[in-house]
Amino acid sequence: MVKVEAIVKPFKLAEVQEALLGCGIQGMTVAEVKGFGRQKGHVELYRGAEYHVDFVPKLHITVVIAEEMLSQVLEAIRSAAYTGKIGDGKIFVSPIADAVRIRTAESGLSAL
């Protein structure tokens, strides 16, 4: 099992969701985060004084999948979240040792 974490532009959520559903994914978890990267923030003026907004709102989407689906899922997220502009985000893949479904106590792949 692997965990795929994608940091994407917020307005891409619906498309990424569609794409993942298209891969047969049954669940995912989303968090509001703030990103810092090559996509720079901007300088704002408030009441005549400056402030720098370094962090831009991003969504952090986590989906745990069977390893064999990885390339398909990566491609699905990539193409759904793509705009071609700086700040489109990253996908990170990491190992998952085990998964448990609380409701059934199933573990492993069948817990997903």
């Binding site: 532009k9 917020p10 307005f11 959520l13 619906a14 498309e15 569609e18 969504l59 502009k85």
Partner: protein, 482 residues
């Protein structure tokens, strides 16, 4: 009181001579004048009544002014957090632009010496007022300017979340300078100077169901049509999707504030501190509560959920509905008028939504549609009896408001669109107008839901379509990094 002295002098003086009699008679004849001369600051009853009229009219004006806050809250509460600064700002600015414009131009066109009942021609820049002379024109202006601002501000809600700030400033100028005052002169010019043609026909619009609300509502309709719906309002099949308002407590507070403002709007339209205001208060309140009940029953029946946002519209619908007839119908009729307005607004909001006009706050239905209803109701429920003739006049007035306002507003928005531009860019609309237009966030200390994860259409074939983004992008617009 020196009356005693005077009479002591007259009466016991001598026998009742002709002279004495005349003196007595003269005394009493002149008594009212003597009394008012004796007390220049002990004003006569008529003076005090005049003062009371000033006080009441101006307090009412203050209440109507407060409606600006009410509109701002309702519109902000019923739209999204990312546009809250923008909407608040527009509500502030239409009052400011409107006040200055109405001072310079609008008031003269509306209440100046009329040119055949079609347009006022004097009193620009409050030039009618001469220092040291009677200042009634100032009290009257104060009351009227807040009415003008009410008409103007209605539009901001219907065009919320996508209209350019500068475009809105221009529109505010046009409605306050031309659209509202000229129509207003037809129905209300006679309140200060010669009567307008609608007035001459006997048109009843006591406090402005047509003059203020329908005019605002039809301008809102024109604006909403010209600018088009918000991104994501319609799915690929053209079905409307809900875009919930971000702060319903503020919206509800806004309705309470509008409600109290209406206790200035309707009863204040007497511009006199007289007994009639009791009647108008009661009618106004009963119509409002009946409007809530009417809309609640309707939406509850339709969707099986008691919907607060719709019930708030119901209150406003009842209030708009009673605005024209508030001084000519019985309390029982007010209940009926309000109740029907409450039902009407629910169906109207849903219908407007379905025909592809995106009005985030229901302004078209509340002000335009219920404004017409109230105008007709003034004939239908007239306390002195129904007459087809009166109904005809009312219908004519309502139609005139539409025929005057809609085309002119449509043209205005079209011209704005072709010149400075009416709508913000797609990227700005997605990101929110607060950052895009003003470089400010309404709520910088709060973590906001972005990407509308909690409000997304499941199983829509293509989310990009669903959000209406693709089509816009296809037109070659560039989306900035978001």
């Amino acid at each position: 009181m020196n009356l005693i002295a005077v009479m002591d002098f007259i009466i016991p003086n001598r026998e009742q001579t002709m002279f004495g009699k005349i003196l007595i008679a003269l005394f009493f004849l002149l008594y009212p004048f003597v009394a008012s001369a004796a007390g220049a600051d002990e004003a006569t009853a008529a003076d005090v009544q005049t003062h009371l009229n000033y006080v009441w009219t101006l307090i009412a004006a203050a209440l109507v002014f407060f409606m600006q806050a009410g509109f701002a809250l309702v519109e902000t509460g019923l739209t999204r957090a990312k546009n809250a600064v923008n909407i608040m700002f527009k509500n502030l600015m239409d009052f400011c632009v409107g006040s200055l414009t109405f001072w310079a131009v609008g008031f003269g066109l509306m209440f100046g010496a009329t040119w055949n009942g079609w347009i006022g021609t004097s009193g620009f820049f409050l030039s009618d007022y001469v220092h040291g002379e009677d200042p009634w024109v100032l009290a009257f202006w104060m009351f009227q300017v807040v009415f003008c601002a009410t008409a103007a501000t209605i539009v901001s809600g219907a065009m919320a979340e996508r209209t350019k700030f500068t475009a809105y400033l221009i529109y505010s100028f046009v409605i306050s300078a031309i659209i509202y005052p000229i129509f207003g002169s037809w129905a209300w010019g006679g309140l200060l100077n010669g009567k307008g043609w609608l007035e001459n026909l006997g048109f009843i619009d006591f406090a402005g169901s047509t003059v203020v609300h329908s005019v605002g509502g039809w301008a809102a309709l024109a604006g909403a049509i010209v600018i088009g719906p918000r991104l994501g309002k319609y799915d690929a099949q053209g079905r409307p999707r809900a875009i919930p308002g971000h702060n319903l407590p503020l919206a509800t507070l806004g309705v309470f504030i509008l409600w109290i403002g209406w206790f200035g709007f309707n009863p204040g339209s007497t511009t006199a501190g007289i007994k009639d205001i009791a009647w108008i208060f009661v009618n106004t309140n009963l119509a409002a509560v009946a409007g809530v009940v009417g809309s609640l029953i309707s939406i509850w029946s339709l969707t099986k959920k008691p919907d607060l946002a719709m019930s708030l519209n119901g209150a406003l619908a009842g209030l708009v509905g009673i605005t024209a007839p508030c001084n000519t119908v019985s309390p029982t009729s007010a209940v009926i008028i309000g109740f029907l307005a409450g039902i009407l607004v629910v169906f109207s909001v849903i219908a407007v939504d379905r025909i592809g006009v995106d009005d985030p706050v229901g302004a078209i239905s509340v002000h335009g549609v219920c404004g017409v209803w109230g105008t007709l109701a003034a004939a239908i429920f007239h306390i002195e009896g129904f007459s087809w003739n009166q109904l005809g006049v009312q219908a004519l007035g309502a139609a005139a408001a539409f025929l005057w306002t809609f085309p002119l507003a449509y043209l205005t928005f079209k011209v704005i669109k072709m010149t400075v531009g009416l709508r913000v860019s797609v990227e700005e609309e997605i990101e929110g107008l607060d950052v895009g237009e003003h470089g400010e966030s309404a709520y910088p200390d709060f973590v906001l839901v972005v990407g509308a994860p909690s409000v997304t259409r499941k199983g829509a074939p293509h989310a990009s379509l669903a959000y209406g983004v693709e089509s816009h992008l296809a037109k070659g617009q560039v989306v900035r990094n978001v």
